[in-house]
């Protein structure tokens, strides 16, 4: 983005304070443009013909430093790039790294379909949502255009996920494109030998293309420049991912250099970057070591500027940390991580259902909520206002106390005596030390649940309903 204060953006807006954008004033809207929480197209008046020039000027000023590239179509489209900063605390990172897992054209059909479905369906619940992976990379290992086309068709039939077509042979890429052109696949890759033919394909089919210049940033830049001059800026840069030794260090620095140059304003190199942690399989024979190393390399380049990557291991012990490190880096540091305090109903609780106490830290709340709901336990779940602190830290820091719990109960309008048949509260195991105080403050029976909410189902079987004394 070429401007950095709301005032600079304001100068281009219609200045009518009409409110169409959902903001009271143009100035307020301008502030959202600068922190990228609103899109210029939400100001409908500026889209009118008479403001055309202003719109275009402002749109150009607001464009992120790193170009955005779109792969795929429809609901499953993958946007990559679009960043404006080198450190997440300076704003936030946009468009999280896309993970593409490979299939190859010498796989037998049953394995192929199974693997594609596994990739498509892989999911892990986290803070109210499922973490999932994004794409399928189809590699030509046969070198045979027909074989490649057949496998690409199968993949297209099996999944809506965006795809990457991988081969250095333009004939092979063309065969793949013919059967997947409506899906806007990413081509992988143009290099110093095939770039002319691959550029022609990218232009003819109007699809994004990866430029591959292993450890040669001069070449990478001049290819990017040439492609732009030929008419496409839908480019992804692959400076090579060398999995070991000094070359890995070089790879790391290549990523830093390319992104730094882009953010600092060198438009010729300001494109999304691709990492290929898959190369770890060339350095390790044993599959566990290879998977581990691939995950490690993937983590490095998720943190440092990889926008898209090709991976091989679909072991959960590789995919889970990959998904979580990506979430870690791309979570918007400006967003609060709390839920509204109060009494939540999970499932369809009745007066006989248990009443569980937890905190309003989003991570805690959603973890507990999903542990309960996925095991079909009907209950009341009480999110106490701990100012967004988890159970253990809130007990230690004094945000989760008997008084707070009592206050939470009163404010929610829930009455333990009349709304339940048992007048019982279940505290988290990590809040066990509050038991006596909570009994005194609320007059309710207090039971201590397990330390980890994942164990609530087993605990319930043994302990609920409570024995009458």
């Amino acid at each position: 983005m070429k401007i950095n204060s709301p005032l600079e953006a304001y100068k281009f807006l219609p200045a009518t304070n009409c409110g169409e954008c959902g903001e009271q004033t143009c100035m307020a809207f301008a502030a959202h443009l600068i922190d990228r929480s609103k899109d210029l197209t939400e100001c409908t008046p500026i889209l009118e013909e008479k403001f055309r020039k202003k719109y275009e000027e402002l749109d150009a000023l607001l464009a992120p430093e790193i170009r955005e590239v779109v792969i795929g179509v429809g609901d499953n489209v993958a946007n990559i790039g679009g960043d404006d900063v080198l450190y997440r605390h300076k704003l936030t990172f946009f468009n999280q790294t896309k993970f593409a897992y490979d299939v190859w054209d010498t796989m037998d059909e049953k394995d192929l379909i199974e693997r594609v479905k596994y990739i498509q369906d892989f999911k892990k619940f986290y803070v109210g949502n499922f973490l999932t992976v994004d794409m399928v990379a189809v590699r030509s290992t046969s070198g045979d255009p027909e074989k490649f086309a057949a496998v690409v068709s199968k993949v297209v039939e099996t999944t809506h996920l965006p795809i990457i077509l991988c081969s250095f042979d333009p004939e092979v890429l063309k065969a793949g494109l013919e059967v997947s052109k409506d899906r806007n696949p990413l081509l992988y890759a143009a290099n110093k030998d095939n770039w002319k033919e691959v550029a022609d394909l990218a232009l003819e089919y109007d699809v994004p293309v990866t430029l591959f210049a292993p450890n040669d940033l001069d070449l990478l830049k001049s290819m990017a420049k040439t492609f732009a001059e030929m008419g496409t800026e839908k480019l992804v840069l692959d400076p090579g991912t060398f999995p070991t030794g000094k070359q890995l260090r070089q790879t790391f620095n290549n990523f830093i250099k390319v992104r730094r140059a882009g953010i600092e304003g060198d438009r010729e190199i300001a494109y999304p970057i691709m990492a290929v942690p898959f190369t770890a399989w060339m350095a390790h024979d044993d599959p566990v070591s290879a998977s581990y190393w691939e995950t490690v390399v993937a983590s490095v380049f998720t943190i440092k500027y990889g926008d898209i990557m090709i991976l091989h291991s679909t072991e959960p012990y590789a995919m889970l940390p990959e998904l979580h490190i990506r979430d870690t880096i791309y979570t918007d540091p400006r967003k609060p991580v709390m839920v509204d305090p109060g009494m939540y109903e999970v499932g369809e609780p009745t007066a006989d259902s248990p009443v569980l106490v937890t905190t309003n830290f989003a991570l805690t709340y959603y973890t507990v909520e999903s542990d309960i709901s996925s095991n079909k336990i009907d209950c009341y779940l009480w999110a106490i206002d701990t100012e967004g602190i988890g159970v253990e830290a809130a007990v230690a820091g004094g945000q989760l106390t008997a008084a707070k719990i009592k206050k939470g109960i009163e404010e929610s309008g829930f009455n333990l005596q009349t709304d339940t048949t048992h007048n019982t509260i279940i505290l988290p195991g990590l809040a066990a030390r509050l038991q006596g105080d909570v009994e005194d403050e609320t007059g309710a029976n207090v039971m201590i649940g397990p330390a980890d909410s994942g164990r609530i189902p087993g605990w319930m079987e043994k302990n609920w309903p409570p024995q009458k004394k």
Partner: protein
């Protein structure tokens, strides 16, 4: 067209160098020492050479404690003997250093007297010749006394005392370090201003020399607040490089915290909708590795760890990036 990029021009300040351990030449009995810090850029960046690699100190406890199954399997034979435990991590698991946690001193655990706990420190110093870290139980009332006694018996060995924090009598810990020639771990909870405050107090109020402070800005596990921990460390390191001399110290991470994440230790997901989590024997170590690795990229210098595979892989990746 040629590719060009400039070096960062406002990284003008060097991170303080801090040495742990003392050899006989310096009045100690360690065979080797470890020096942290000295960076003039973010880790592994081309902007400036990184003078020292990352180091790993492996956790040892003065009594058996609860551990994830995958971790425990490695220590069953030594769990009742801190000295043997320390030997094992150096000999078999390539630990650069050893951390002895005196957790039995906690009044709520065994309330071991400081004097008795100090004997364990002596045993560990006897058993291994690498630099050591001495940790209390985390009890703010008890820790100052425990660490004072430990500092006394470790006189001259230049250990790292873990830790001074804002919620205990940090002056006593600072004084113990100064009196016996040790280094203080300045520990705060994921808050850059608290870190500045504590460092300032250690320097100005307690007169701890700059070469005797290491920071622990707190490590939260992958999926459990690593986003805070990562950014907190990155901000601290960037501020240091740009000249905030209350933050130009090397950093240490309690990477073992990663084992608190259920993904690291649970047999399988408690959620029916989740895809299969696969074997936990492989999930746990990689959780610890990725947690540490992320922080290494944020500027962390030293890692407190537990699983041998995690130690091995983290050392391999950080040393590869280091060059």
């Amino acid at each position: 067209s040629r590719f060009e990029v400039s070096k960062v021009d406002n990284w003008k300040n060097k991170i303080q160098e801090v040495t742990l351990g003392a050899t006989s030449a310096d009045g100690g009995s360690r065979k080797s020492t470890v020096t942290l810090g000295g960076e003039n850029a973010l880790p592994y960046y081309f902007d400036a050479e990184m003078p020292h690699r990352n180091y790993v100190t492996v956790d040892v406890f003065d009594m058996p404690i609860g551990m994830a199954k995958a971790v425990k399997g490695n220590y069953e034979d030594v769990i009742n003997d801190p000295a043997e435990w320390a030997k094992k991590v150096v000999r078999d698991f390539n630990a650069d250093m050893v951390t002895i946690h005196l957790i039995s001193t906690d009044p709520l655990i065994k309330d071991t007297p400081a004097k008795e706990a100090a004997k364990v420190v002596e045993d560990v110093l006897q058993a291994v010749d690498v630099p050591i870290v001495i940790g209390g139980s985390g009890n703010p009332e008890k820790d100052p006394g425990v660490l004072e006694k430990a500092a006394e018996v470790a006189e001259g060995e230049r250990v790292l005392l873990a830790s001074a924090s804002l919620n205990l009598d940090y002056e006593r810990i600072a004084k113990a370090a100064i009196d016996h020639g040790h280094v203080v771990l300045s520990w705060t909870q994921l808050e850059i201003n608290a870190q500045k405050e504590l460092n300032r107090k250690l320097m100005k109020q307690c007169n701890v020399p700059r070469d005797s402070i290491i920071m622990d800005p707190t490590t939260a596990a992958l999926g459990y607040g690593l986003d805070y921990a990562y950014t907190n460390m990155e901000r601290i390191r960037l501020a240091g490089l740009m000249g905030d001399d209350e933050l130009t110290f090397p950093m240490s991470s309690g990477t073992t915290n990663a084992w608190g994440a259920r993904e690291a230790w649970m047999v399988s997901s408690p959620l029916k909708q989740d895809s299969d989590w696969g074997p936990r024997e492989y999930r746990g170590p990689i959780w610890e590795i990725v947690t540490g690795l992320a922080l290494s990229l944020a500027g962390n210098d030293m890692f407190m760890m537990m699983h041998p595979t995690s130690v091995q892989v983290l050392k391999e990746i950080t040393q590869t990036l280091y060059g």
